[in-house]
């Protein structure tokens, strides 16, 4: 096996048990939240409260995925803010567009245009 002599000497470290346990804990949290969402989906009647619960649960899940899995929580402050601040535009867009949609539904003469 002559070509093995070209392979670099790689030092393999033992598994970081603490970190791996933390990752599985985050996975457990994500699964519990998803199961909770399922229960809410069938236990509650549609309404503003149900929608708010889903939105909050989604943001909590996003926090764990971005913060722990994507490691953003442990990066430099300036990187965290560079990623988070621009998402303000998304929130504005959401509010503006959904409000616009509700107003459009009030204008009945537009209905034939939307084919329903």
């Amino acid at each position: 096996m002559a070509h093995h002599s070209h392979e670099p000497q790689v030092v393999v470290l033992p598994p970081n048990k603490e970190k791996i346990a933390q990752l599985w804990k985050v996975a457990g949290i994500l699964l519990v939240i998803t199961i909770f969402e399922f229960i809410v989906a069938f236990a509650m009647h549609p309404g503003a409260l149900k929608t708010s619960i889903f939105v909050v649960m989604t943001i909590v899940k996003a926090f764990f995925i971005v913060g722990e899995f994507m490691h953003l929580k442990h990066e430099a402050k300036v990187l965290i803010w560079s990623i988070l601040i621009p998402t303000v535009f998304i929130i504005w867009m959401l509010v503006a567009f959904v409000y616009e949609g509700m107003k459009m539904s009030d204008i009945n003469f537009l209905r034939p245009l939307f084919n329903y």
């Binding site: 670099p8 030092v11 393999v12 998803t34 929608t51 995925i65 994507m70 300036v78 959904v98 939307f114």
Partner: protein, 255 residues
């Protein structure tokens, strides 16, 4: 400006060069900004869905009495209630729940591959990358089934009334495509294809990238390079795909 040349190294700003102010490599930083721009793209799609949905009337009757109609936006759990091998059994959102579980698990195996990469542990990276690829392929297969079911439609179809050549006639529609939709307004099917399709394409690209990383790990490229950072960069992309699905799951299937 001859006086300013006397400044010492310690008073220089971190932005003057020579260091990474954000504490990450160029490649990782650019992956972050790419993902930010991709988040805007997906937000555009999902928010437009919100706009179109909120301009349609919602179904207001009794939940159990729900029927498909073009007059109001459908209740998603009434549309997505089928599971493979369980024909005719009403299991709302169960299959999409399984898909969510698969994608979250593949995100976990990806982050374990990244952890193994930090330790230069090649066999562990190979093992976790294979699990991640398997998760991605499983998700795509599930999506293929769901699309097929959505396109083929329910057994009875939906009968609609339409005005053709000066007379009202009845016509039965089966399934959905970009022209007609048995489940509700046209836009509901259009957004289903666009949003889950665009996400599915991201998953597909992710599987391709994951396979590339796996191949390069197996051939010892990262051992020779002395760093497994590529696993981290592609890992960021893969977690983002999972993140988007979390939002699609909420805003398309639950709400």
């Amino acid at each position: 400006m001859s006086h300013s040349t006397a400044t010492t190294v310690s008073s220089r700003s971190v932005w003057d060069g020579g260091v990474s102010p954000m504490g990450v490599s160029y490649g990782k930083l650019m992956m972050w900004f790419f993902l930010l721009s991709d988040a805007f793209t997906f937000s555009g799609l999902l928010i437009t869905y919100g706009l179109i949905r909120s301009q349609h009337p919602a179904f207001t009757g009794d939940h159990h009495a729900f029927v498909f109609s073009h007059d109001y936006w459908p209740v998603p759990e009434k549309v997505f209630e089928a599971v493979p091998f369980l024909h005719g059994v009403e299991l709302p959102l169960v299959f999409v729940g399984i898909m969510t579980f698969v994608l979250i698990m593949s995100s976990v195996t990806m982050v374990l591959a990244v952890e193994a990469g930090h330790r230069m542990d090649r066999p562990a990276v190979e093992k976790w990358m294979l699990w991640t690829i398997l998760g991605g392929i499983t998700f795509l297969s599930c999506q293929a089934w769901e699309w097929t079911h959505f396109i083929v439609g329910t057994e009875g179809g939906t009968t609609i009334k339409e005005f053709v050549n000066g007379a009202w006639t009845n016509r039965t529609i089966y399934g959905a495509n970009l022209h007609e939709n048995q489940y509700g307004p046209h836009a509901f099917a259009d957004f289903f294809f666009f949003i889950t399709g665009f996400h599915g394409f991201h998953v597909f690209s992710g599987v391709m990238l994951n396979f590339l990383i796996y191949y390069r790990t197996v051939t010892g490229m990262y051992d020779r390079r002395g760093s497994y950072e590529m696993v981290e960069k592609v890992g960021l992309y893969w977690h983002f795909v999972d993140l988007v699905w979390v939002f699609v799951f909420t805003f398309y299937y639950l709400v």
